[in-house]
Symmetry: C2
Subunit: 760 residues, 2 copies
Amino acid sequence: MKQYLKHHEWQIIEEGFDPHLHRVSESIFSLGNGRMGQRANFEETYSGDTHQGTYVAGIYYPDKTRVGWWKNGYPEYFAKVLNAPSWIGIGFNFEGQELDLAHASVEKFVRVLDMKQGLLTRSFEATLPDGKKIAVQAQRFCSMADGEVGAIRYALTPINFSGTVKIKLSIDADVANKDSNYDEKFWDRVYEESQMGWAVVNAQTKKTQFQVCTGMEYKIEIDGQRVGGKVFTHNKEKYADNIVEITLVQGKELVVYKYAAVLSSENHPKEKLVKHCLAKVDEASKKGFATLLQDHVAKWNRTWQDCDITIEGDVAAQQGIRFNIFQLMQTYTGEDERLNIGPKGFTGEKYGGSTYWDTEAYCLPFYLGTTNPAVARNLLIYRYKHLPKAIENAKKLGFKNGAAFYPFVTMNGEECHNEWEITFEEIHRTSAMAYAMRDYIDYTGDKNYWIDYGLEVLIGISRFWSQRVNWSGDKNRYVILGVTGPNEYENNVNNNWYTNYLCAWTLRFTMEAIDYVKKNASDKLVSLFSKITFNEATEVARWKDIAEKMYYPEDKTRGVFLQQDGFLDKELIPTKDLPAEDRPLNQKWSWDRILRSCFIKQADVLQCMYLFEDDFTQDQIKRNFDFYEPMTVHESSLSPCVHVILASKLGYEDKAYEMYLRTSRLDLDDYNNDTEDGCHITSMAGTWMSVVKGFGGMRVRQGQLHFNPFIPGQWKSYSFRIEFRGRVLKVKVSQAQTEVLLESGEPLEIIVNNKPAKIS
Amino acid sequence: MKQYLKHHEWQIIEEGFDPHLHRVSESIFSLGNGRMGQRANFEETYSGDTHQGTYVAGIYYPDKTRVGWWKNGYPEYFAKVLNAPSWIGIGFNFEGQELDLAHASVEKFVRVLDMKQGLLTRSFEATLPDGKKIAVQAQRFCSMADGEVGAIRYALTPINFSGTVKIKLSIDADVANKDSNYDEKFWDRVYEESQMGWAVVNAQTKKTQFQVCTGMEYKIEIDGQRVGGKVFTHNKEKYADNIVEITLVQGKELVVYKYAAVLSSENHPKEKLVKHCLAKVDEASKKGFATLLQDHVAKWNRTWQDCDITIEGDVAAQQGIRFNIFQLMQTYTGEDERLNIGPKGFTGEKYGGSTYWDTEAYCLPFYLGTTNPAVARNLLIYRYKHLPKAIENAKKLGFKNGAAFYPFVTMNGEECHNEWEITFEEIHRTSAMAYAMRDYIDYTGDKNYWIDYGLEVLIGISRFWSQRVNWSGDKNRYVILGVTGPNEYENNVNNNWYTNYLCAWTLRFTMEAIDYVKKNASDKLVSLFSKITFNEATEVARWKDIAEKMYYPEDKTRGVFLQQDGFLDKELIPTKDLPAEDRPLNQKWSWDRILRSCFIKQADVLQCMYLFEDDFTQDQIKRNFDFYEPMTVHESSLSPCVHVILASKLGYEDKAYEMYLRTSRLDLDDYNNDTEDGCHITSMAGTWMSVVKGFGGMRVRQGQLHFNPFIPGQWKSYSFRIEFRGRVLKVKVSQAQTEVLLESGEPLEIIVNNKPAKIS
């Protein structure tokens, strides 16, 4: 845990430059706009420890799998988010002396991420080795108004000298992924050109042959007057620049504006990529920094208008929630159904593939609640398009008859993870696709989604379950052997309660969908059944049998469900008895020790109770929470938010608040000591849920909105907005009262604190 | 399965050259002498598919671990058997045209491994692309009489031409391991020299800095007359040769004798290595091929005298058992306590490290029965010397107080395997060290081994178990969670019956050893306890409690022990219902499917009954055999021999014979389709056990030899020798009778078919 950032309602502020924290800050101060993103690397040369990262949505590389011991069924490659050509480079050389904060005395260093505007500002004074002193203020943003544009304003004032400076404005595609399995670079050259005032580099990924074309223009001013200087142009393989020689006058501010356009072949024909790129950067340059920024900020204003959460009386909590919302909105705008939400977004490249079940289980509710339903629908359709690959994936593991096994990690629908206990066994994820549909339908009422897309996916998933269970003669029940539940601190267990429950629910949900489509679009049902050669009589009969005769491990004495068979053989020890120096377990204990301990990374019985809350009594939930929560170490970023929601429901206010801080400030305070690899983007949606579903007690039941709010004692008030079936509601909770206001749309009956209320 | 070798009692014979089988033959026709070994690569250039392999005992390289996803506790490196400098190269170039069987028309190709003499002979006629035709007979051996010497006789007759030939006699240390994790070469240069008539290359391994110095001399004759020819000497980094230009006369036989000496810094001071090597090769060359061969064959004669098994009436079975004994004796002679028995011996480099629990569980009984007890004792002492590393290894995983966890794979005592389900969980192996002691003591009566070595090891192992079990409040018993038994087709299971049994037995055995040492060397006991700060009262009390209250999974209805908790949840299907195209499962099924199936790689309940036969009734063994055997796929080379022994005991003669053929011809007939990687050396000891303990029914009980022979219907008779407490017994079993003869040593009372018999 690190607490070096200033608390502020709208800004993330770092004061003073500490090279040891630089990688963490590079993650936290990242910028993005859904199409592209950029870690908070310095524009000028920095020879210290840094993780340079520029990313372009949808651009990936299938890196050959690296494994110690091959297991049958492993994928051939691991699709990786690609470190893309860098457009931010602006180097300064003062008569042979490079500006490099690793070799300068730095004062008054301040880094500010203004979340309201989406603007990164860095200012400092630096004394170079020969005594030259400069003051710098650098600002940049990735335009939310135009996803292909980035802009930089870099202002530099020579404080104690006059003289010449060479300014190098570059585009560099000779970049590498930190996590390359075999130390390869993933980009091939296509085209470079450098002319006075602009440069362009087009590069192509190996194997996948995506092209990314990056262009730049720039303007330089001194004291507000445009200056030209001597310009030298260079280009070499995967690189192009302009070097501009300018005479500086002591005390006069030099301002460099650099405009970049980043275009990918996913959105433009390859043969027009360079042309379109140059046109785009030219357009940006003509608009100029101020206008571009204005458009960008206007877009952010609208976004905040929809999805801001305010918290009065607790700046750390306020900053935390805004940071989470800010990062989510930077990562995925929902406009492109080919895209998804990577675990690190545009803030790092760890965990490679872009799509995990995090999307369905955590991000979907956020987008449902804060934007229009088309965004959530795009996320569902993304998986619909991957259905053929999910069927292939199941086939590779020996399943037949159109069984669909969604991958644990993917870019294009193919599995690319290679740990057998996860890849093959963490099978609950395939039902996350079904649950997402339930969430979407609950929220929007749009059952017709089943007709054209949903049912086909559900049948594929149910066919998987139908083959994955087996009959236990011993138990006289269906069992599910050899799985890993959401609690990844248990591997290859039998009858994980969460998984068994989800399986049976999925089968029932699929049968419900069949009935609906039968009643509402019977012709489409017939043609679907024929397309996928579905034998309704026999297949549904088996599903029914499985759903009825599923085995659920249980401890009747304690009145709790058992995470899996044999859980009670463990020594049951509360986490509070763990020595502090043993935490986090995943860094301190050997893997086998973790596995045979009772400690839980993410409590999956509780996860299931959160997902299917209405299937259980308050008492059942309480008993299970009281049993599992004390053994939960929350070493998954996806864990605390679920505990906030359940603790809120159970009236455990302190626990709810403790867990809320943990989830909302996970990256800002670097709880897990890994923010330097990038931020935990998908779990940020969990933070939003913590407030809205946790404190706000928001639920959708039978198409109706419910609120059961409580407010932590530390807070004066909090508020959030909810988009729901064409309305926008604002919920404001203070210590004294709860207000729900209809900001737009038709009047609506909702339930507040279990009582109906009409809002209009 | 491939059946291309001719059956013969003393020889392995391949007729005709099939490049697709070449790698398999390279493994099968391998030669070794305990100190060095050589795959059956061609002496001359071969540009076709080949796996070149020269190996020197004890020489390894710690290759940096390659892993997909790191787990805490993994070792940093994997110690690998090293492909060593090659000494066999003899190239022939006929006026620019290389002799290369990949580019020649080959006739009359015959490869013969004469196991009686330990001699590899290859003969063929080859027509080169330009029509030149030659006849070749190449012979070689690795001297059993002098482990540092190898010799080649290469005879070549030009059939249809006269002309010059350039003969290249080389030493090549620029070799690579096929399984190098990062495509590195592991040898550094030290010294090369090439002079007329000889060459030497000294090379050093990276990191481990072993030196291997390889020298050669040669003689060339035509028609029995020594010839000189023009000699060109060359050397470059890690390589040296002589090229000799000779005029060939049509029809006249050219014979090249090449003598090699291979010395390692494990046996010579580094600074004298080159000198000793040159002296050794000079000595060999002076002796000449015929004398060296004579000494070598004499040594083999003595070996066969001791350990041959004859089978009359079944050539395939006879060839099989001799091949197994031959390979074992080539691999490990027991003279050097620093060495052990690698899973591939000198026939390949797969599975890297040299020492597995195979040594204790399979090889030890073979060496006990066929050689003097010092060999088995050396194998025990090898592990005694590794005790500090075993303690370190346990510490890394979180164990304390001198707990000893022996590695799954090792070279120097450190663990070097990296699959969590094996490295951390296949914990039964640590008790293999205890069982080996029991075997050794049963056999030799030498309980004093406990005093100086054995007890310290046993206490370390028992301390491990004492911490590895935990108390289950639910079962009111001690349980062992998260293990992999010998059946590696189940991972991370709870209460593997074999493991639980072995744990409790080890604790009791350790207590027995303490009592013995207390009575017989109480002063040594006191100093040992003080050395390892052993608290007898509390530690032994806990052991006793664990041994008494251990949990053993059981199915009382069927009267069988359960492989692990939850085994009965599986669908119990016999292997005979598996489609042929699904076999072997480990090549056809995904890993998860194997894990959740009932199919058994190696039946571990039965393994335990084999190890502790006298703890169970015949009826219990029968019920468990009848339950588990039908589900066993024998995809471990260590599996069938145990089934031979139990099936023999139970009178299942057909099953015993079927399993015997499978184990004894595993490599000759390439049952598992992997002999090209090398032969399954350690399981060959199991083949010996199949005959002696299986068919012969040999047991040692309370220091007394028992025989309960049966003879397969296909055989006329079989015989084997047993070394036992200073005697040599010969057992001959025919369809009519069993004879046990005392060949040397004092008279002895033994038990034959459960009746006492005095032999003298």
